[in-house]
C-alpha cells in the first residue's frame, strides 16, 4: 500500500497511521502524546495534517493509511492550527525551563522555536498544586503537565497504577491514586515517558557539580552496566553504541578522582547471591524460590505489595551498594583514606537507585555506601554543560579497582543477573568451571522467561520477569505451587535496567532491544566472563571480607527488608 505525504510516495502497511509512516521516514510532525509502545490518546492535537483533495484537518496519529491517501504536513492551515494548539498546550511552559534538566535535547524547545511560540500569548490556569515527590527518586510538577497521559499509561503498563490524571477542564493534571493500597515503586518509567519533563528524576546534578569542586573530597565515579550502551543516544548516536572507554575518559575530564565501575559491584553481588542460592537449593538454608533484589523498584514492590515474600528475597545487597561499600571500607583502608572523605557517585539508568542510595538500613559504619546518583540523562547534560563531546573522546580504561567481568556487564539486561548467577552458581555447586557460559533462554524482550537449567544432578527451575505486572503473575503462580521455581529474577522496568526510568528519551522497546544487543556484545568480547574469577572481587573476599568479624561481613554484604507503608 502507498500513501502520499507532501506529494512524495511512501510504502506502508495496513493499519499503520500516517504519523507512524512519517516517523519511519523521518518526516517531522510534532507530537507530544504519541509513543509507539503505548495506546493512542490523540489529545495533544499538534500532529495535524491536511488531507487532499477534501482539505480536512486530521490528527496524523489517528488517521489510518489507506491506498492513495494524500496528506500535507505543512500547509498554512495546518501551521496556523498547530501553532495555536502549541500556544495553548505550552502556555507558560517556557517559564518552567529552569526546572527542567532537558534543555540540551528538548523537543519542546525545538517546536517552540520553530513555530515562534513564545508561551506568552496565553497564561495557564494555575492549578495551585505543588511538586509531588515520589520518595527520593522522582517528582512531578502539575504546573508543567500537559495531560498527555503517557506517564499514567506507563504506570499502568508496569502494573502499578499510582499516577492518574485528576480533575477535569483546565484543572486536568497529573496526580496520584489515593488508594492506601497503591504506592509508587520509584521505577521512574513515568519520567522517561514524559514529553515535557513535568515528571522527572529528583536531580542530584547540582550536588555532584558542587562536590567535584571540593578539593577535600575523593570523588569516585561508578557507572552502571546500562549507561555505556545508551548514553550515546543523547549525543545523536543510534541506540546500542558502546561508549565504555569514552565514558571513562569523560568522567576523568569532569574531575572525578577515581573511575571505578558498578560492574565490579555486580560481580560482588553475583558471588554473594550465587552462594546464597546454593545454600538455599542444596542445603535448605532459607526459602525457595529465591528472588533477586538488585532492583530497588522491585524490592519496594515486594515490601509494599507482597511483604509475605520478603523471606524469599536474596539477602545480597545490590551492585552499586556493594561496590560503594567496598570502596568506602576495603579500598579506603588499603589507600589509607578516611572514608568520610570519600564521595561515591553512581551513574545509573534508574531513578529508584536514588531512593536506594538514601536507605538508612544500608549504611556501613554510619556512612551511605553511595552518596549521589545521576541518571543517564543527568550525566549527558552534565557532559554537554562542560562541553564534553562524548562520542569524540579517546577511550580509556577503568581504574584497577573497577575491573569487572562480562557477567557484570550483562547485569543491565533482563536475564543478565540470572545468567551471571548461573555462571558462578555452577562453580559453587560443582567446583568446576562452566565451559559454555551463555544462557540464551534467559535473554530477550519477553516479560516472562522460564527455563530449566541442569547443573550436574540438580535441575534448577528459573524464571526471569520484568515489570511489576509480570512479577505479580509469577508470585501468584508461586503461591499456588511453591515448587514451581527455585530462582526468580525480577526487574521493574521493561527489558531490565537497560530500559530503566533514568535512560535517554525516547526509550522504546525497539531501542531497548538495540541497547541490549550491545551489552551482550561487551560480554562476548571479554576474556573474563565469570564474576567469581574477577581478581579484584577475589581479593576483596579473600584478603578483606574473610578476616572481618561476621557482623561486619554482613554489614557490607547483606541487607534486611521490612514491610513498607505508603510513601515510606
Amino acid at each position: 500500500m502507498e500513501i502520499f505525504i507532501n506529494d512524495k510516495k511512501y510504502r506502508c502497511e495496513k493499519g499503520e497511521s500516517v504519523l507512524q509512516v512519517a516517523i519511519r521516514n523521518n518526516i517531522k510532525i510534532p507530537h507530544f502524546c504519541y509513543h509507539e509502545d503505548l495506546p493512542i490518546d490523540a489529545n495533544c492535537r499538534t500532529c495535524l495534517v491536511e488531507t487532499s483533495p477534501k482539505e480536512v484537518i486530521a490528527t496524523s496519529c489517528t488517521l489510518k493509511a489507506e491506498q492513495g491517501l494524500k496528506v500535507y504536513t505543512n500547509t498554512p492551515k495546518v501551521r496556523m492550527l498547530r501553532k495555536e494548539n502549541l500556544e495553548l498546550l505550552l502556555a507558560d511552559h517556557k517559564k518552567l525551563c529552569h526546572y527542567c534538566n532537558r534543555g540540551y535535547f528538548c523537543e519542546v524547545i525545538d517546536e517552540i522555536k520553530k513555530y515562534k511560540v513564545k508561551g506568552e500569548k496565553y497564561q495557564r490556569c494555575k492549578a495551585g498544586t505543588k511538586i509531588h515527590k515520589m520518595g527520593d527518586a522522582a517528582e512531578y510538577d502539575p504546573e508543567a503537565c500537559i495531560a498527555c497521559n503517557k506517564c499514567v499509561e506507563m504506570c499502568q503498563k508496569i502494573g502499578i497504577g499510582f499516577l492518574k490524571l485528576s480533575e477535569k477542564e483546565k484543572k486536568t493534571r497529573i496526580s496520584y491514586n489515593l488508594n492506601p493500597k497503591v504506592d509508587c515503586i520509584y521505577c521512574g518509567q513515568c519520567t522517561v515517558h514524559c514529553p515535557v519533563a513535568a515528571v522527572r528524576e529528583q536531580s542530584h546534578s547540582e550536588n555532584v557539580e558542587r562536590i567535584l569542586k571540593d578539593k577535600n573530597k575523593i570523588v569516585i565515579a561508578q557507572m552502571a552496566p546500562s549507561i555505556r550502551t545508551s548514553i550515546g543516544e543523547d549525543f545523536g548516536l543510534r541506540p546500542g553504541v558502546d561508549l565504555t572507554g569514552q565514558m571513562f575518559t569523560a568522567l576523568r575530564k569532569l574531575g572525578f578522582n577515581k573511575i571505578f565501575d558498578v560492574n565490579m559491584g555486580a560481580d560482588i553481588t553475583t558471588c554473594v547471591e550465587a552462594k546464597e542460592l546454593v545454600e538455599r537449593v542444596l542445603h535448605g538454608k532459607g526459602k525457595l524460590p529465591m528472588f533477586t533484589s538488585c532492583c530497588p523498584g522491585w524490592v519496594k514492590y515486594a515490601e509494599f505489595y507482597h511483604p509475605e515474600i520478603i523471606p524469599n528475597l536474596t539477602l545480597a545487597r545490590s551492585p552499586q551498594i556493594h561496590s560503594g561499600g567496598a570502596y568506602k571500607t576495603w579500598w579506603a583502608e588499603k589507600e589509607k583514606i578516611d572514608p568520610r572523605k570519600i564521595i561515591v557517585v553512581s551513574i545509573m539508568p534508574c531513578t529508584s537507585k536514588k531512593y536506594e542510595a538514601k536507605l538508612k538500613e544500608l549504611k556501613i559504619n554510619g556512612l551511605y555506601p553511595v552518596d549521589y546518583v545521576l541518571t543517564t540523562r543527568e550525566m549527558a547534560i552534565l557532559l554537554k554543560k562542560n562541553k564534553i563531546n562524548l562520542p569524540k573522546l579517546k577511550p580509556s580504561k577503568v581504574d584497577s579497582y573497577g575491573i569487572y567481568s562480562g557477567a557484570g556487564a550483562i547485569y543491565g539486561a533482563s536475564g543478565g543477573v540470572m545468567e551471571s548467577a548461573l555462571r558462578s552458581a555452577h562453580y559453587f555447586m560443582t567446583g568446576k568451571e562452566l565451559k559454555k557460559v551463555e544462557f540464551k533462554k534467559v535473554r530477550g524482550m519477553q516479560g516472562i522467561k522460564t527455563a530449566k537449567i541442569r547443573i550436574r544432578k540438580k535441575v534448577l527451575k528459573i524464571a526471569v520477569v520484568y515489570t511489576a505486572k509480570n512479577a505479580a503473575a509469577i508470585i501468584e503462580k508461586m503461591k499456588r505451587d511453591p515448587k514451581t521455581y527455585d530462582y526468580i529474577e525480577v526487574m521493574a522496568c521493561p527489558g531490565g535496567c537497560i530500559g530503566g526510568g533514568g535512560q535517554p528519551i525516547p526509550t522504546t522497546e525497539k531501542i531497548i532491544a538495540k541497547r541490549i544487543e550491545a551489552l551482550y556484545k561487551i560480554d562476548s568480547k571479554m576474556k573474563l566472563r565469570k564474576a567469581h574469577k574477577n581478581p579484584i572481587v577475589k581479593e576483596f573476599f579473600e584478603s578483606y571480607i574473610k578476616n572481618l568479624p561476621k557482623k561486619k561481613q554482613e554489614e557490607i554484604l547483606y541487607r534486611t527488608y521490612s514491610k513498607k507503608k505508603k510513601f515510606e
Binding site: 484537518i57 492550527l81 495553548l88 496565553y122 495531560a147 490524571l165 477542564e169 483546565k170 486536568t172
Partner: protein, 334 residues
C-alpha cells in the same frame, strides 16, 4: 402477522433525540449485526446541555413508556442487560416510581442497572458515558470502534436518549404522531416542556405556546450551549434541530454577557482530554472576562482551532453558537 418493530421504527423515520439526530433504525441494526455477546442497552438521561429539560419531563410523566422502549430494544437485541445513565438529581426525585416499574420488568428477567451520573455535558458523548459507567476517567474514547461494535465493557451497545425510547414505545403501540418535546426557556412567558409536531417552525411553536415575545428578541435552538442562534426573521422558516431547546433572549442582552455565559459553560464542562478544548475554553472565558470590549480576533483564533482540531464533537460544536450569533444577530462578517 404484525410487522416487526424495526420496520415500524424505520417507517416512522425515528431519529435520535439526544441531539445528534442519527437514524434510530440504523443504530439498532448495527448493534443487532454485531457478533459479540452480551449486548447492552443504555438509556441516556444525562441531559447535561443547557436549556434542555425534556428528559426529566418524560421520566416524570411517562416512565412506563421509556422502560417499555428499553425492554423492546432488549428483546430486539436478545439481551437482558440494560443500564440507565441518569442525572443523579433526577433519580433522587423519581426513584420510587422508576424502581417500581423496573422491578416489574425484573420479574420478567430483564436486568436494569441504575447509574447515577453527576450531571455533565460530556455525558452526552456516548463513549464518555461508557467510560463513566465502567468507572474510568470521564472522557471520550477514540472512534472507531463505535459503541455499536465495542461499547460498554467492549461489547456491542445500543445507546439511546430518553425521548428516543419513549418514541419507540409509541411506535410499538401505534401511537407515534411525529411529535417531539420542546423545551422553552429564557425570557419566555411560559417556560415549560411542550409536546408538538416536529415539523413546525420555531415561530409557530412560540406562538402556539403563547411564548412569542412582545420585545425585540433572538433565540438559540437545539441546546443553549451548542445550539444555533437565530434572529426573528429566521425563525419563520427554521425548524427544530438537536435536543429540542428554544431559549429566548432579549435583543438588549449585551454580547459580552451572552459570550460569558456560553464560555463559562464550556470552560466548566470540558472533560480536559484534548488541548484545544481544555485550554481553549478557559482562555476564551478569560479573554472575554478580562476585556470590556470583545476581542473578536483572539476569540476566533481559538474558536476556529477548537472547531477543526478538538477531539470530540462537543468541543468542536463551540463554533456553531458563536458564529451564528455573530452572523445572525450582530451581523459581523466572519
Amino acid at each position: 402477522m404484525a410487522k416487526p418493530l424495526i420496520n415500524k421504527i424505520e417507517k416512522a423515520g425515528l431519529i435520535g433525540r439526544g441531539g445528534a439526530g442519527f437514524p434510530t433504525a440504523v443504530k439498532w441494526k448495527s448493534v443487532k449485526n454485531a457478533h459479540e455477546k452480551p449486548k447492552y442497552v443504555i438509556c441516556n438521561a444525562s441531559e447535561g446541555e443547557m436549556g434542555v429539560f425534556k428528559d426529566f419531563h418524560i421520566l416524570k410523566n411517562h416512565p412506563e413508556k421509556i422502560i417499555k422502549g428499553m425492554a423492546l430494544a432488549m428483546d430486539y437485541l436478545k439481551t437482558k442487560e440494560a443500564y440507565i445513565n441518569i442525572n443523579a438529581k433526577y433519580y433522587k426525585k423519581l426513584k420510587k416510581r422508576l424502581e417500581k416499574i423496573f422491578n416489574t420488568y425484573r420479574k420478567g428477567g430483564y436486568d436494569f442497572t441504575i447509574f447515577q451520573e453527576h450531571p455533565s455535558y460530556i455525558g452526552g458523548e456516548e463513549t464518555a458515558l461508557l467510560n463513566a459507567i465502567e468507572g474510568k476517567r470521564i472522557e471520550p474514547r477514540l472512534k472507531p470502534p463505535f459503541p455499536s461494535i465495542a461499547g460498554l465493557f467492549g461489547k456491542p451497545t445500543l445507546i439511546n436518549n430518553v425521548e428516543t425510547f419513549y418514541n419507540v414505545a409509541c411506535v410499538a403501540d401505534n401511537t407515534y404522531k411525529q411529535c417531539r418535546f420542546y423545551c422553552i426557556s429564557g425570557k419566555a412567558k411560559k417556560p415549560s416542556t411542550y409536546y408538538l409536531p416536529n415539523n413546525l417552525t420555531i415561530e409557530k411553536i412560540l406562538k402556539i405556546t403563547k411564548n412569542y415575545p412582545k420585545f425585540d428578541f433572538f433565540v438559540q435552538i437545539g441546546g443553549s450551549a451548542s445550539g444555533t442562534v437565530l434572529n426573528k426573521k429566521q425563525i419563520k422558516k427554521n425548524k427544530m434541530i438537536g435536543a429540542g431547546a428554544i431559549e429566548i433572549f432579549s435583543k438588549k442582552l449585551k454580547p459580552r454577557e451572552f459570550l460569558l455565559r456560553l464560555f463559562e459553560f464550556y470552560k466548566n464542562e470540558s472533560c480536559g482530554k484534548c488541548a484545544p478544548c481544555r485550554e481553549g475554553t478557559y482562555q476564551l472565558f478569560k479573554i472575554v472576562k478580562r476585556n470590556k470590549t470583545i476581542q473578536w480576533g483572539k476569540i476566533m483564533e481559538i474558536i476556529d482551532t477548537m472547531e477543526q482540531t478538538a477531539f470530540c464533537g462537543l468541543g468542536r460544536s463551540i463554533d456553531t453558537p458563536v458564529k451564528s450569533y455573530m452572523k445572525n444577530i450582530l451581523k459581523i462578517k466572519i
